[in-house]
Subunit: 247 residues, 2 copies
DNA sequence: CTGTTGTTCGTACGCTGTACCAACAACGCT
DNA sequence: AGCGTTGTTGGTACAGCGTACGAACAACAG
């Protein structure tokens, strides 16, 4: 019988506090978050967080059992941003699901390291709230529970997959790549075209500067608009399959 | 002007070999892959790979500049598995795209650590072949290049997002979680329901053993079938938007 | 058989997460 | 007010990581 203080789950283990400690779990998590946002997830180390807080490294281990637990806290802090204020919650399932998906996208794109780095943690309180909101979006439909589950899964999959790629794409655009690397890449691509193995790719890129071709292929839309169009495709296809009213 | 041996890109840098070296890049990459498959990506260290090969650790650095380059090789080795034999390539765009997506799914699920761990590497030869196959799938359609790009992106996003979740789900089912952790999680969930903040979630899970409820929510379908149904939704929605013939 | 140089790998450095334990300080009790 | 308990802090140490450096070995040309 696990008492409150030796629980295996951080959510059921009481935060220390009978004699005012210097820090809080929230404080530690948000410090970790801001390091990750400004310098990337790799820069988040226990020593780094501690020195940011003006504490000894091992002090953190009084608030958290392992670094993984700290990551769980980071995860939950991010999920908090995903929640939609109750008074902004749309009534129609399509609008509600769109709002949830777009907000999730916005948040994950603000923390592009998150999807790759956060182990999919045991569901914390804010992840639960997010799930509740997702169910609420479909409450007015008369879908069976399994159909709701399937629909939410498809939307979630698309959102996460899109962020995974879009975040990386944005990073690639932002970071200054050595001219030398680009040149080598172009050279490599051309040598591959020369094998004749890549007719379609060559038709698109062959002989041209990829930095000029790429934007044209992508079109004038912003990343976010491209995401929204993809989302519309997904929701449209789902509505058709599940016989849901599109509007 | 980068000569063949000091190129910034591993693909354009010649593999050593004027005096027969002990190993090949392929050998090293496949050793790394098998370690990752059997013990997880975290177990892949330079020392570990080397000892598996009976070599000194630093020997690997003769074949590869950094561990990241080795990861690029792993990535490309995985992409090789994704390629569809030419004689199995379906003619109709829907079937072709489905085949590419399903094969990608199968491979990524065999290497569940891959999506999370492999930096999205600069496109290697097998990634190029995969992209060529994706374009080939849409060659018979008369879509504009930008539309092809958008469609492929949506499908890719869904596939990757689904693998991200499904792989983790499978891992969760496989690994033996401490009874203690499950108990703590159930306890935590119940205490959250008690706040009244989670009516929809509670209706689904409240008071029941989640290990019994979950399979029922998911339904009788296999992971793979659930993926295929989601894919059909996505392709259906895309076909509608892009005015493509579904069959 | 020798000189060149491609190939191997031992040592060392700074980084990581964290186990262990000594020291400090806040509070309840007398 | 002073003492004892114990919640809280954090120093030291250890095994592991990626990899820079450079010495040693060995394959081949002459």
């Amino acid at each position: 019988m696990a008492s409150a203080d030796d629980s295996a789950l951080i959510w059921t283990r009481a935060e220390p506090g009978t004699r005012r400690p210097k820090f809080t779990r929230d404080q530690i998590a948000s410090t970790a978050l801001s390091i990750a946002d400004t310098e990337g997830f790799a820069a988040v180390s226990m020593r780094r967080i501690a020195s940011e807080l003006g504490a000894g490294t091992m002090t953190l281990y009084y608030y958290v059992r392992t670094k993984d637990e700290l990551i769980v806290l980071m995860d939950d802090a991010i999920m908090r941003e995903v929640l939609i204020p109750a008074d902004e919650f749309p009534a129609h399932w399509y609008d509600a699901l769109t709002a949830v998906a777009e907000r999730t996208w916005d948040v994950l794109m603000r923390h592009p390291w998150a999807l790759r780095s956060l182990q999919n943690a045991p569901t914390g309180p804010n992840a639960m709230r997010h799930f509740e909101q997702s169910l609420a979006a479909l409450a007015a439909t008369r879908l069976a529970a399994t159909a709701k589950f399937a629909l939410l899964a498809v939307v979630d999959d698309y959102v996460h997959g899109n962020v995974l790629r879009a975040a990386e794409f944005r990073a690639a655009k932002t970071s200054t790549v050595d001219e030398e690397v680009i040149e080598a890449a172009v050279h490599f691509a051309e040598s591959q075209y020369a094998t004749g193995e890549f007719p379609h790719t060559q038709e698109l890129f062959g002989g041209k500067d990829p930095r000029e071709v790429f934007p044209r292929l992508i079109g004038a839309e912003s990343e976010r608009d491209r995401f929204r169009h993809g989302l519309a495709m997904v929701l449209g296809g789902a509505a058709r399959r599940l016989d849901l009213p599109l509007r």
